[in-house]
Amino acid sequence: MTMNLFNQFLSPTFLGLPLIAIALMAPCLLYPSPAPWWQSNRWTTLQNWFIGSFIKQILSPINTKGHSWALLLATLMVFLITLNTLGLLPYTFTPTTQLSLNMAFAVPLWLATVIMGFRNSPTHALGHLLPEGTPTPLVPTLIIIESISLLIRPLALGVRLTANLTAGHLLIQLVSSAAFSLLLSQTTAASLAVGLLLLLTILEIAVAMIQAYVFVLLLSLYLQENV
């Protein structure tokens, strides 16, 4: 049973050929490309509106120099939301449940912000390691604590996304298998489980979108600190 539960997280292969590339590229087919005519259809308008308002909101606290990250953050957001929400469909593989993928997003981007901060204004970046107004005896301890928290950030980013999605998917599997096995013998309990499954599904949709948003938001915060 345990083996069965985690099978959904195995990187998909077909006759020995890895399908992970298709799993990562396929979602972009769902989005309309900008058409050469002036007034777009509803999909394109909504897509444009969504990306526009999202970027406007996320980049508002960042100064002009950080606005060059707009394309990266928008792409990241759209990609993560698509992967997360598509993974909720049955028999699909969610790439964002793989820690390797999430770390591959988190570490380079976080490191980029840190290196940018240290390169442009090293004293300001080092100053982040000590909060204002700390009593003098606490200063060494606090610097160590703050640097540990700085170094843990990429780990936290990646693991947060992975853990949330993996936990969600596992819960869905568990509750649905419980409901399924109870379906014929104890139907009332099964209906309760189905109710739970419905609520869980709604939660998972919300979590999928929120986790993607949180990932990008935290990156923008790190950017704001360092730019």
Binding site: L29, L30, Y31, P32, S33, A35, W37, Q39, S40, N41, R42, T45, L46, W49, L88, L89, P90, Y91, I172, Q173, S176, S177, A179, F180, S181, L183, V194, L197, L198, L200, T201, I202, I205
Partner: protein
């Protein structure tokens, strides 16, 4: 819906990507089609018709001649039965989660679909309205310019009259000025002449008075006392005679 999406995305990918450009423009470079970029053919207003949200209407039309109205439904039912009976699709826990997620999705689309579509339409309408406003402003500006131009042309016609009136004005001013100066000159000359006349009169009067005074003085000087007495006696005798005459006339 998904099939429609795939077709749409495939269409959009056709024009993009490394092979896409070649595919689209192959016919154009070989001049096999009479395609030209303008005028652009009109786009369909709405998407393709679908039944039950995912199945395109074309399938129903395709199967209608052979199997009638219920054909596609029978096809669907038969397909599902085949998959289930041959256990090609096994009902397991994922089926339950599939039922849940699809019911949530369908509920969401049915409830929020029209409002989201209206929102997207509103965004498009605003974009169109902005462009329309620019166009309308330009048109009204140009019509205003045409009217102004016509008015200017009408004004030009009356320009000759304006010039005549101005010319008359100026001529009148000049005339008035000339007459004023003429009057002034006349008055000045008259004054000078009057002065000369007055001077002459004065001179003559002075001469006259002087002459009279001289004559009187010489006459009075020439009268001797003897003559004076004689003349006084004569005057008295004349007066007596005159008195006598008048008395006589009075009594008569």
């Amino acid at each position: 819906m998904m099939s429609r999406l795939v077709i749409l995305s495939a269409n959009s990918l056709k024009g993009s990507g490394p092979f896409g450009a070649g595919l689209v423009h192959a016919s154009r470079s070989l001049h096999t089609s009479s395609q030209s970029r303008a005028p652009v053919p009109p786009l369909p207003e709405t998407g393709g018709k679908v039944r039950h949200g995912i199945f395109p209407e074309e399938i129903f039309q395709l199967l209608y001649p052979k199997t009638g109205v219920t054909g596609p439904y029978m096809l669907g039912t038969g397909l599902i039965t085949y998959l289930l009976s041959k256990e090609l699709y096994v009902i397991n826990n994922e089926t339950l989660s599939a039922i849940c997620i699809f019911s949530v999705i369908i509920y969401g689309v049915k409830k929020f679909g029209p409002s989201v579509a209206a929102f997207a339409d509103k965004l498009n309408e605003e974009k169109l309205a902005k462009a329309q406003e620019v166009k309308d402003l330009a048109m009204s500006g140009l019509t205003q310019a045409i009217e102004n131009e016509k008015k200017e042309q009408w004004r030009v016609e009356g320009r000759a009259m304006l010039f005549d009136a101005k010319r008359n004005n100026v001529a009148m001013l000049l005339e008035t000025n000339y007459r004023e100066r003429l009057h002034m000159v006349t008055n000045e000359i008259k004054r000078r002449l009057d002065y000369q006349i007055a001077l002459q009169h004065l001179n003559r009067r002075l001469e006259q008075e002087h002459m009279i005074n001289w004559v009187e003085k010489s006459v009075i000087g020439s009268i001797t006392p003897q003559q004076e007495k004689e003349s006084i006696a004569k005057c008295i005798a004349d007066l007596k005679m005159l008195a006598k005459n008048t008395q006589a006339k009075a009594t008569v």
